[in-house]
């Protein structure tokens, strides 16, 4: 029962995406869009990929809130890294360290690892269960990440996945 609902949700989402991307609304093209949507849902079902993780979660308020916070972090570290590139007197002190992620779901850990990599100055090099190997441009950036605010926020946002 849950699977059917997931499949219908996926179909509606894909069709909405098709409408936004096409821009042509004649009957023939709408029919073709419907057929391709159904085909994709059918293939997804056949490949047994219909589960909670394919749900389009991008519209939930807490996710948008997390993105807004992440956006601010990205801008801040962009400016920091840019200053270190432009000004040779500002030192860099590259470090590699391990970080424990406390997310419960796989998708939550993926979100955390991807967020770390997305923010300039830190890159997730390896993920082993809940241990991340992270490369940071400076000791300060590393210390900031170890304080674990991002980890906490991802745990918070993970609840809606």
């Amino acid at each position: 029962m849950g699977k059917l609902r997931h499949a219908i949700n996926l179909g509606l989402f894909l069709f909405a995406l098709w409408l936004l991307l096409s821009g042509h609304y004649t009957p023939l093209l709408l029919l073709l869009g419907t057929v391709s949507t159904l085909l994709v849902v059918l293939l997804t079902t056949r490949a047994d990929l219909i589960d909670r993780e394919i749900q389009p979660v991008l519209i939930k308020p807490s996710v948008l809130l997390y993105w807004a916070w992440l956006g601010r972090e990205i801008v801040k570290s962009n400016i920091d890294v840019s200053r270190r590139i432009l000004n040779p007197t500002l030192p860099i002190s590259p470090t590699i360290f391990t970080l424990r992620a406390t997310q419960k779901t796989e998708l939550g850990r993926v979100t955390y690892a991807n967020s770390i990599t997305l923010v300039p100055g830190t890159v997730t090099v390896d993920v082993e269960e809940d241990l991340f190997t992270v490369h940071a441009l400076t000791q300060e950036i590393a210390a900031d990440l170890k304080r674990g605010e991002m980890n906490r926020r991802v745990c918070e946002v993970e609840k809606v996945f």
């Binding site: 936004l20 991807n114 300039p120 090099v125 390896d126």
Partner: protein
């Protein structure tokens, strides 16, 4: 109003171009593979993001803007994935990172 939009849009485009340039400079200036990845992140996020934002302002409320938004959305996923893939490949290829030995107090 048109004037304000034009100024905003061109500031975004110019800002994006500057960050792309800084990122490229960082790739040349930083000492090793891993640190250079951080410079690439600058291009990936704020560089490309600002250019897309500037183009969205030009597009106004239209399907073009929706497509640009989707491009931005996908870039936010593919960018870090590609950077992570590169970093992990380098690590598995036993490429040594330049690491600062000085311990922070």
């Amino acid at each position: 109003m048109d004037m304000v939009l034009a100024v905003l849009s061109w500031s975004c485009l110019l800002g994006g171009a500057i960050f792309l340039l800084i990122g490229a400079l960082g790739v040349l200036r930083f000492p090793d593979f891993y640190t250079r990845l951080h410079a690439v992140s600058v291009c990936d996020t704020l560089g490309a993001g600002l250019v897309l934002a500037g183009l969205m302002l030009q597009g106004g409320f239209s399907l073009v803007t929706v497509k640009l938004l989707l491009m931005f959305y996908f870039m936010m996923f593919t960018g870090p994935t590609a950077v992570h893939a590169l970093a992990q490949a380098a690590m598995q290829g036993k490429l040594q990172a330049v690491v600062d030995e000085h311990e922070p107090e």
